[in-house]
């Protein structure tokens, strides 16, 4: 039976509150989205899962016009400062990707969308940030 799967494993889509989950170093608190061998900051080797906020501000963005094959353009890519800690890169969605509509420092909120479907009908759910 077709189901929804997160596009990446640091996106939690269970329930009605999609959010990002990071690996946090138990010693210094540094957060990472990837599977870890050790902490790149303090060298400790244990991590715990930490839920991150689904709101933040845009600290950088670009609007890509010449994109990789198969990627619809133009689109806006941004680095988001999440409230309470953490940074993530994602697209700005539900907003026109033009310089007039985007502003450095604008507050945003995480939202999900279906990014693709496999041969069995399963949907890959991705996340972006929309102006809030």
């Amino acid at each position: 039976m077709a189901e929804q799967v997160p596009m990446v494993d640091y996106l939690a889509i269970d329930g009605d509150h999609p959010h990002l989950v990071a690996n946090a170093c138990v010693k210094c608190g540094a957060t990472y989205f990837d599977r870890r061998n050790a902490c790149a900051s303090c060298g400790a080797r244990s991590f715990e899962r930490r839920d991150l906020a689904d709101t933040g501000v845009v600290r950088a963005f670009t609007i890509v016009y010449r994109a990789a094959p198969g990627v619809p353009a133009p689109f806006a890519s941004a680095v988001i400062d999440l409230d309470g800690g953490g940074k993530v890169k994602a697209n700005l969605i539900d907003v026109e990707p033009t310089p007039d509509h985007l502003r450095l420092g604008m507050p945003v909120k995480l939202a999900t969308f279906v990014a693709g479907t496999d041969d069995l009908g399963n949907e890959a759910v991705a996340f972006g940030f929309r102006p809030s």
Binding site: N37, A40, R59, Y65, R66, V79, V88, N122
Partner: protein
């Protein structure tokens, strides 16, 4: 240098096929094993050399640091066929012999897949229905480029420039574009530049947008080329012909850094901290101050990057890069000429060649042999390159009487 070099920690993983571990697992396991065996940590290392063939161009050393500790030390990624691992070991050894490191880490790693002795090429498609399956360290079920932001070069460096704008009010598209106007104008005097054509500010800003705010004229081209240098010790120089000694250029500083840990550095590469650290070390080693520099060749892979580097290399006041280009500080007739060669934007950027090509540019000016583009009386110059992943190399060259 007759002091010996000693091995105090050494480790290896069992060798076999690992379906459940990736290259970073293997490299981290071996690196941490050696560090643990020696009773030291990555924070005690002054240098890292990583030898890997299959992924030689992907910054394997920096990727290991991002798993076990980003301390900003110089990283050398080494490829030398089957002698790769031993060559990586020699790099750490030479660093200690040269007096630049007291303790170093060398890692050799490889994940060969099912290549077989003849090195087979890829898996055959099976014709079965493709189903989403999480793979890699982020558990991705499909390619994320363009869906979870962009990590391609033009967009990455655009975001870096925009981050500078976020942190410093008033930095604008126009100021980034002025960088390209400058470099294209400079290139008309450089017969070695790939492009030698001037463009107005309107033409630069109105050109095809690649990744806002970088238009096509604000992106370096791809191309081919090579550059080479012969270096010699002071002692040997004294025995060479007078004419060679007269034209010799002194390397007053040679510095390599990697990106130290910063929050978010794995989400978006930080090209600023490692540049600042390399620059400060270069100024300290050479005894030269930014205001002493007669010319700088820096890494303008994209116009947005160059603006940030005015600040990172301390050519302008902190936060003042936008104002500095507005008042023509980096023009060839300005306070500190930057990229009089035309920079990567117009001179071109054959990737492996650039790091020596900008040494060629500065050295040529210091020898008084730069023809139409000569910066008069040039005595001290700086070169800077950045490789994403990341690595920053800075050199200070001086023309001094031998």
């Amino acid at each position: 240098m007759s002091d010996d070099v000693w091995i105090i920690g050494i480790s290896m993983t069992p060798f076999r096929r690992y379906d459940d571990k990736d290259l970073m697992d293997l490299g981290s396991e071996a690196a941490l094993g050696a560090l643990d065996d020696a009773g030291v940590t990555i924070h005690d290392m002054d240098v890292l050399a990583a030898g890997c063939l299959a992924e030689a161009s992907s910054g394997v050393g920096q990727r290991i640091q991002k798993q076990i500790g980003q301390t900003g030390i110089p990283v050398y990624n080494v490829a030398n066929a089957c002698a790769t691992g031993a060559t990586a070991f020699r790099v750490a050894y030479l660093s200690i012999k040269a007096g630049e490191a007291d303790m170093g880490l060398a890692v050799g790693l490889e994940q060969m897949g099912k290549m077989g002795m003849l090195g087979a090429s890829g898996r055959a498609r099976t014709g079965e229905p493709q189903e989403f399956k999480p793979s890699g360290r982020y558990g991705a079920v499909m390619g994320t480029e363009g869906i979870l932001g962009t990590n391609l070069m033009p967009g990455t460096f655009a975001q870096t420039g925009m981050e500078y704008a976020y942190e410093h009010d008033g930095v604008s598209f126009e100021q980034f574009a002025k960088v390209a106007v400058k470099n294209h104008a400079h290139s008309t005097l450089n017969p070695l530049a790939q492009y030698q054509k001037e463009f107005s500010l309107e033409q630069v800003m109105g050109a095809e947008m690649i990744a806002y705010p970088n238009t096509v004229l604000m992106c370096c081209p791809t191309g081919d080329g090579a550059s080479a240098a012969v270096v010699v010790s002071s002692e040997r120089l004294r025995s060479l012909p007078t004419e060679v000694q007269r034209r010799a250029v002194k390397v007053s500083a040679s510095v390599l850094t990697s990106d130290p840990y910063v929050d978010g550095g794995l989400v978006h590469f930080d090209v600023n901290t490692l540049t600042r650290q390399a620059a400060d070390k270069a100024y300290e080693l050479s005894g030269v101050a930014p205001s002493d520099l007669d010319l700088v060749e820096l890494h303008d892979c994209f116009a947005t990057a160059e603006l940030c580097h005015y600040d990172n290399l301390r050519l302008c006041e902190e936060g003042g890069a936008g104002e500095w280009i507005d008042k023509r500080g980096p023009w060839r007739d300005g306070e500190i000429p930057v990229n009089v060669s035309g920079g990567l934007l117009s001179k071109g950027h054959p990737l492996g060649a650039t790091g020596i090509a900008n040494l060629y540019e500065v050295a040529t000016h210091l020898r008084g042999e730069a023809g139409d583009r000569q910066i008069e009386g040039a005595k001290v110059g700086m070169t800077h390159v950045i490789g994403l992943g990341s690595a920053c190399a800075i050199h200070v060259l001086e023309k001094s009487a031998v």
